[in-house]
């Protein structure tokens, strides 16, 4: 059943409950997660070189969450998240070039240089942002669920937020409304154990976020968010629940971010050992990689080819983001009101 904290070794029951992926699923998950990781590494490098300015929050370590969840969605389902959004956008299928060019503030960026790292959108991929204000997306995502129910379109909205965001009052106003009106919303709490420099235990009375909907009768589940199969399996249950008209569902993904909160994080609030241990023992990409090799789904050489194609894609995005022109000054005054 529900897996415990990703930091602890999984119990055998938990492992047994996670269905194996097919070859195609494993390979797709590997490729997607690797793409996000390499993209983020490149963004981090470009930030270091001064090519990206301002705030930039990397998703490295948490890749299994969005990749696993995305496997449960069908076209028309909506995704909304906070400011740590690059992974979500890539998983939704948004072009890496447009994401990277927004980081560098260029014309070809998804928000034409107006939004930056935290604020990007895509009607085509039904990605509703990228929001810099912690917690705001939870109410918005609830509204997307309302619109789905109103239109009777059978779609589900997925609202991602962090363990820190889970303490905003509007999250509970949203839970109440979503349960009251039986809205098709899946709330995904990405519990990476820290909100900036503040550990969950220092900010939360109830640290089991899957229980945060109990008083509204919203079911919740704690999931090993480092194992893409566990994410996908739980995601499937939650999405089906929401889609079938049963109302909202809460998934707490036990995950971990390897990098600092943003690019200027002194990282004094946790030990290097803690980070290293997660990387060594729970890395979501390494888990899939070793499974693929063990099952004989692919050889080292095949995986190298995937690596190379991912690197090419990322390089293409990086090149575009540096050569695409900066926005015209007149852009300052566009898209304010009509």
């Amino acid at each position: 059943m529900a897996a415990k904290s990703a930091a602890k070794p999984k119990s055998s029951e938990a492992q047994a409950a996670v269905a194996e992926f097919t070859k195609d699923q494993d390979l797709a998950a590997y490729r997607e997660m690797l793409y996000i990781r390499r993209f983020e590494e490149k963004a981090g490098q470009m930030y270091g070189m001064g090519l990206i300015g301002g705030f930039c929050h990397l998703y490295i370590g948490q890749e299994a969450v969005v990749v696993g969840m995305q496997m449960c969605l069908t076209p028309g389902d909506q995704v909304i998240t906070g400011y740590r959004d690059h992974g979500h956008m890539l998983a939704c299928g948004m072009d890496g070039k447009g994401v990277m060019a927004e980081l560098t503030g260029r014309r070809g960026g998804f928000s034409r240089g107006k939004g930056g790292s935290m604020h990007m959108f895509s009607v085509e991929k039904q990605f509703f942002g990228g929001h810099g204000i912690v917690g705001a997306q939870v109410s918005l995502g609830t509204g997307l669920g309302f619109a789905n129910r109103y239109k009777k379109n059978g779609n589900v909205s997925v609202a991602y937020f962090g363990d820190g965001a889970a303490n905003q009052g509007q999250v509970y106003e949203s839970f109440n409304m979503a349960a009251l009106w039986k809205l098709p919303v899946v709330y995904v709490v990405e519990n990476n154990r820290y909100a900036m420099g503040t550990a969950v235990t220092r900010s939360s009375a109830q640290t089991d976020f899957s229980k945060r909907g109990l008083s509204f009768n919203i079911p919740g589940e704690q999931v090993d968010g480092m194992d893409v199969r566990a994410v996908q399996a739980a995601g499937q249950r939650a999405v089906e629940h929401a889609r079938s008209g049963e109302g909202p569902f809460i998934l707490e993904m036990m995950t971990y971010r390897y990098r600092g909160h943003s690019m200027s994080d002194p990282a004094k609030y946790r030990s290097k050992d803690e980070v290293q241990k997660m990387r060594n023992e729970h890395d979501p990409i390494e888990q899939v990689r070793s499974r693929i090799l063990a099952a004989g789904f692919a050889t080292e050489d095949d995986l190298k080819k995937i690596d190379a194609s991912v690197r090419d894609l990322v390089q293409e995005a990086a090149d575009f983001a540096q050569t695409d022109p900066e926005p015209d000054v007149a852009e300052l005054w566009t898209d304010i009101v009509k």
């Binding site: 939004g115 935290m118 604020h119 912690v134 909100a195 503040t198 300052l332």
Partner: protein
């Protein structure tokens, strides 16, 4: 006397007030264990313990609401909103409760709280990390609004804010935390240690709220500024050679109308600066005040140099920011009018 940064001056003021008055409690997101994202409360939890300096959840409404209750029952809360851009969830508590408690209870209860928040642009923070929301507070009766431009003032004003029995919004221009900023973003960062106003006494001193400072005496034109724009004004005056008198308001409410009036009567010209958007900005109030008080002394229309009426941009920060070139043009225009 030590030369310190604005961050150190702010920390110094809080430290001193915590030592003097055990009713002072300090809290906010990442404020305790981590010492604040800008390090303004670094070391205070270690020194005063977790009951007096602590972390809160990310719950701005709750942070301010709880502070109001604490204040009504005798504590002196100093809370931090991590960036001014995050204050809006707390705005209801500030406007409907903190600002009104004294009036509503006919003076029986007060809200002796200080709400600190970094504001302003110049750090490439985009729309959610660069705003200057001072007018949201100056428009509300029952609040005091303070904004220092240097370490010396930051310490003295923050001490006064903490001692004040009414709610004080204490805006900290984050671009000034580590050094003065002329608006020349392409020039190397100047440290505070080279600025005379970084000389800050170790001991207690208070700067009365509602008293502006004249940063540069001049005869040609009065420039009214606050926060980062004080330094931009100094650069623009130096670069244009115009003999501007630069007023640093330091406190927006209560407003030092005497200093403004005296200066404009002398110069006959007035340019008003702020980073915030133009329409309904605090500059509109200043302009009205000058017009009401100094109409017959004015030799030219009052000009404002402000942020544009747009959200704060990501890629085009320096097209938005009212830097020394724009201020210089206004100074020339007002002299030629």
């Amino acid at each position: 006397m030590a030369r310190i940064t604005m961050i150190e001056a702010i920390r110094d003021a809080i430290d001193l007030m915590m030592a003097r008055d055990d009713k002072v409690v300090v809290f906010g997101e990442d404020v305790g264990y981590f010492g604040g994202v800008f390090r303004c409360t670094d070391g205070l939890q270690r020194k005063y313990g977790r009951t007096r300096c602590f972390d809160t959840p990310i719950s701005e409404t709750g942070i301010v609401g709880v502070a109001i209750g604490m204040g009504a029952y005798g504590l002196r809360p100093v809370c931090e909103i991590q960036f001014a851009d995050y204050v809006y969830p707390a705005y209801d508590q500030i406007v409907s409760e903190a600002a009104r408690l004294r009036y509503r209870s006919a003076g029986e209860f007060t809200s002796p709280l200080t709400i600190r928040m970094p504001c302003g642009g110049g750090i490439f923070g985009g729309q959610t990390h660069s705003q200057s929301p001072e007018a949201c507070f100056t428009h509300v009766s029952g609040l005091k609004t303070v904004i220092p431009s240097n370490p010396y003032d930051a310490k003295g004003l923050l001490i006064s804010a903490i001692e004040d029995d009414d709610p004080v919004i204490f805006l900290e221009p984050k671009r000034l935390y580590n050094g003065p900023f002329s608006g020349h973003h392409d020039q190397p960062v100047v440290p505070w240690s080279r600025h005379p106003l970084s000389e800050v006494p170790d001991e207690y001193y208070a700067i009365e709220l509602g008293k502006a400072a004249i940063r540069r005496e001049g005869a040609a034109v009065t420039v009214i500024a606050y926060g980062t724009m004080v330094h931009v004004a100094e650069a623009a005056a130096a670069e244009t050679g115009i003999d501007a008198e630069i007023i640093d308001l330091r406190t927006l409410i209560p407003l030092d109308t005497d200093t403004i009036e005296q200066s404009v009567r002398k110069t006959g010209r007035c340019v008003i600066l702020h980073e915030a958007t133009r329409t309904s900005g605090f500059g509109a109030e200043l302009s009205a005040q000058v017009q009401e008080r100094c109409f017959h002394h004015l030799e030219a229309p009052i000009l404002r140099v402000t942020g544009w009426d747009t959200p704060y941009p990501h890629a085009q920060e320096w097209d938005y920011f009212p830097g020394p070139a724009r201020v210089g043009r206004a100074l020339k225009a007002v002299m030629e009018a």
